[in-house]
């Protein structure tokens, strides 16, 4: 398993390199640059600014300098639009924010989604099953960009219970709405996945065997049925979790959390090259790390998978 993980990690390096090169050239294709403004800079000022940030060099030199700075100094460059900050600063500030509400959102999704799915599966075609299905459909038709404004109208404007946005150092009243708004539709999906998968498992021959052995229903469920039923949930949650912790752009903008997602759009609009690249790299590394983690969790749950990981 260790070998396998190492091999996977080695594969990340060339992939990242290709990703950097593609992103680097793609963003340069967009017309305008970081210092294109309504008030065009006089040529002498423009020259100084471009020199200061090394943007006057040929593209391949810029690319090499960029990669060199990352490799030797772990320096992802300065931000052009926020001149007091570097990309490292911006990520160090914004990522923990997104990670925090993304984490709580994921907890919310799992803690609520799995039990709902289990209850619906066990009480198949009963009142509780219909409630769960109804709830799932309801959350699906209320994606976060519909749910968030409704929540703010209710919890902030009408009832005055929660602040309508901001982060304020991550105090809990500021975390609740972003986490719930982000997670609700995933929670519904997780509930549906759990329900479907558990129903399937419960009708499997080995469950019948377990019951025939006279094991109590509780043991059948917890020891034998639930674990394999969660495999689809785990593979679903991997990418979703990356998405959650790297920030829903909408949640970051709407709740003004100061999270990393906001930087991504702003950087694209302002052609803040180093911020765009820095975030693209962060997203990719997280995606790699999380998919690897999902695979390892898979192996831990499923012996069949484990023996395949050589």
């Amino acid at each position: 398993m260790l070998n396998y993980s190492l091999r996977r990690m080695m594969a990340v390096i060339p992939t990242l390199f290709i990703l950097i090169v593609i992103c680097f050239f793609l963003m340069r294709l967009a017309p305008g640059g970081p210092f294109t403004s309504e008030r065009p800079l006089p040529p002498a000022v423009m020259k100084n600014v471009l020199e200061r940030y090394g943007l006057d060099e040929p593209l391949y030199v810029q690319l090499w300098t960029y990669i060199k700075n990352i490799l030797f100094h772990f320096d992802f460059g300065p931000s052009f639009s926020q001149k007091d900050r570097t990309v490292n600063d911006l990520i160090a500030q914004g990522f923990p924010v997104t990670l925090t509400y993304g984490f709580f959102s994921a907890v919310f999704v799992l803690v609520l989604g799995i039990p709902l799915g289990v209850v619906a599966a066990l009480r198949h075609n009963s009142f509780w099953d219909y409630v769960m299905t109804g709830l799932a459909i309801f959350s699906q038709i209320f994606p976060n960009f519909v749910l968030a404004p409704i929540m703010v109208l209710l919890f902030t404007l009408s009832w005055g219970l929660l602040p309508g946005g901001g982060w304020n150092g991550g105090q809990w009243p500021y975390v609740i709405m972003p986490a719930v708004a982000l997670g609700t539709s995933y929670m519904a999906s997780v509930a549906r996945l759990t329900r479907g998968s558990l129903l399937e498992t419960l009708s499997a021959p080995y469950i019948r065997t377990a019951r025939a052995k006279g094991l109590p229903e509780r043991t059948v469920l917890w020891r034998h049925a639930l674990k394999p039923s969660l495999l689809p949930v785990i593979s679903y949650m991997g990418p979703v979790f990356v998405y959650m912790i790297t920030g829903s752009v909408f949640i970051d903008v709407f709740f003004s959390t100061g999270g990393i997602g906001q930087n991504f759009i702003d950087a694209a609009y302002t052609r803040d090259y180093s911020v765009i690249l820095g975030l693209a790299i962060l997203y990719s590394v997280l995606t790699f790390a999380l998919t690897l983690m999902v695979d390892l969790v898979y192996a831990w749950i499923d012996p069949k998978v484990r023996s395949g990981l050589k």
Binding site: P40, P42, V45, N48, Q82, T156, F254, S256, D266, Y269
Partner: protein, 538 residues
């Protein structure tokens, strides 16, 4: 040397307690217990470093953290800041500012003329590469342009400290409005010792040293900045607000909801909502003139042949019903524009322009006549062109209405094209358009900040308009002590030749809680100072 007749400069001692330079709280006012003022910013500031800041919101923060030679009062007039007054040499080329003795930095060091010298040199050094170096060039400080171009070292800049409290500035040409330009953030002093100790990180709350009425205590990019009262500020006893918080909220509607929920004391009004909000909250919805204009620019260099005909240019300008655009489309208290410079500009009298006084029916009749004479449109050669604007709902609505007016009245076919902001700027700047949206906000409160745009050598002249007389008039206005008549003549030439179509002059729309006093609604540049504000008890 002649003494500059600067009203407040002459009464230096009384100026200290003058109502114009601190929160002006009428006797008997009951102040609110909590003097925290919270407002919305659309986006994170570009910087809080005075020499680097570029955006208006960021400049607002910098005005709280630092204080320049002069501040502006509620009407936009310059009032003493660190400088008590100044004198001007007979040739109008040398300005000598007298600085107050009691100004201190937040770390207790005295604010001296050397801090200004350091800051002004810093602003033009190629190493700092401030995009706002152009402002120093605009101020015509001696050798500024040469230093920016790398031809001279920063020490050659025409600014020096003859003693700790006297700052001498030499100009490369006389500039009648020079003294009004020093209320701009780029010219604020900078603490050399703090910058040298902390480098790029000197603006962090833990490192920053300022000389303004507030100090930066918290700064979370894209989320909030918090400024608190600076005990070292020379006029701290007259500052009323204890804490100023700016929250970055990207979404207009969400900002308004949070304003309604009481989380904000001030926010912007989402497009088109001013009339309803004014009705609902008449004391809080505010629309005031803003020093910005909105116009359509013809491409006179490589646009359609028809645009070379002044009759076509005039016909399109005449057929545009600005009242419809302002009253029915935008609905935010904007002002129909028939000339380029906003009427709110200081010292500028709107010249009488013939078509401004006509009724729209008269304008339409004249437009049709001119178009027929030129041989285009209905009954003539078909005229079609593309109008380019940057993607935005409000610009789109204006574009649709204008194109419909031109279609109906003149039979002109306009194709609308919108582009993302930077793509748009790139195309407009390279004359890669036929007609394009233009807008400009004044850098200082004087007509030349607008009219300079139409000088043939201007980098902002997207129309590529070229009129020798306009160039000449604007050049002589630079050194004239009474440039008013020159501006009038320029405006009249523009109305005759119509290189651009003025559409409207902006208004600033905002929601401001009615217990907040001292926000300068009459300052057309919206230069607010938190030290001048206070909250009354409700």
């Amino acid at each position: 040397m002649k003494i500059f007749t600067y009203a407040l400069a002459l009464t230096m001692t009384t100026a200290l307690s003058s109502q114009a330079i601190a929160a002006n709280v009428p006797a008997g006012t009951k102040l609110a217990d909590d003097q925290t003022y919270t407002y919305r910013m659309l986006d994170e500031s570009s910087s809080v470093d005075p020499q680097l800041v570029e955006d208006t919101d960021g400049s607002g923060i910098v005005r709280d953290l630092f204080e320049g030679l002069y501040n502006q009062d509620g009407n936009g007039k310059s009032v003493p800041g660190v400088a008590l007054g100044h004198t001007v040499s007979d040739d109008n080329m040398t300005y000598t500012f007298t600085l107050r003795q009691d100004a201190k930095w937040s770390d207790g060091n005295p604010v001296t003329a050397h801090d200004f010298v350091y800051a002004w040199k810093r602003a033009v050094t190629p190493e700092l590469a401030s995009p706002y170096a152009w402002y120093m060039e605009l101020m015509s400080i001696k050798n500024g342009a040469e230093i920016i171009a790398g031809e001279m070292g920063p020490d050659a800049l025409g600014v020096s400290a003859s003693d700790d409290h006297t700052l001498v500035v030499e100009l490369s040409q006389p500039l009648p409005y020079f003294a009004d330009m020093v209320a701009h953030a780029t010219t604020f002093p900078a603490p050399k010792w703090a910058i040298e100790a902390h480098g790029n990180e000197w603006t962090r709350p833990e490192n920053i040293v300022g000389n303004g009425a507030f100090v930066l205590t918290e700064h979370v990019p894209k989320e909030r900045t918090v400024r608190e009262r600076n005990a070292m500020y020379w006029d701290n006893e007259n500052t009323v607000l204890d804490k100023v918080v700016s929250l970055v909220i990207g979404d207009d509607a969400q900002a308004l909801t949070r304003y309604r929920a009481g989380e904000l004391d001030k926010t912007d009004i989402p497009a088109g909502q001013y009339p309803t909000l004014k009705e609902e909250l008449p004391n809080e919805a505010i629309a005031v003139p803003r020093l910005c204009n909105y116009y359509f620019s013809y491409n006179l260099a490589s646009g359609p042949e028809a645009f070379q005909d002044v009759r076509v240019r005039k016909a399109l300008a005449l057929a545009l019903d600005r009242n419809v655009i302002v009253d029915q489309v935008l609905q935010g208290g904007q002002f129909p524009a028939y000339n380029f410079t906003p009427a709110a500009t200081a010292g500028f009298d709107v010249p009488s322009i013939d078509y401004a006084d006509m009724t729209q029916a008269e304008r339409d009749a004249m437009a049709m006549e001119l178009m027929a004479e030129a041989g285009y449109g209905k009954g003539g050669e078909p005229l079609a062109f593309t109008y380019l604007y940057n993607t935005s709902e409000a610009h789109q609505q204006v574009a649709i209405v204008a194109s419909q007016m031109w279609k109906q009245k003149l039979g002109v076919d306009v194709t609308l094209e919108n582009q993302e902001w930077k793509v748009f700027l790139e195309n407009r700047g390279n004359q890669n358009f036929e007609m394009a949206r233009g807008a400009w906000c004044g850098d200082y409160n004087e007509a030349s900040t607008f009219l300079d745009l139409l000088v043939s050598s201007s980098g902002y002249n997207d129309a590529k308009y070229n009129n020798a007389r306009v160039d000449e008039l604007m050049a002589s206005a630079k050194s004239s002590q009474a440039p008013g008549p020159l501006y009038t003549e320029v405006e009249q030439i523009l109305a005759d030749e119509m290189p651009v179509v003025p559409v409207y002059h902006y208004s600033a729309n905002m929601m401001l809680k009615d217990n907040v006093e001292g926000w300068p609604v009459n300052n057309v540049q919206q230069k607010y100072y938190s030290k001048d504000m206070y909250k009354v008890a409700e």
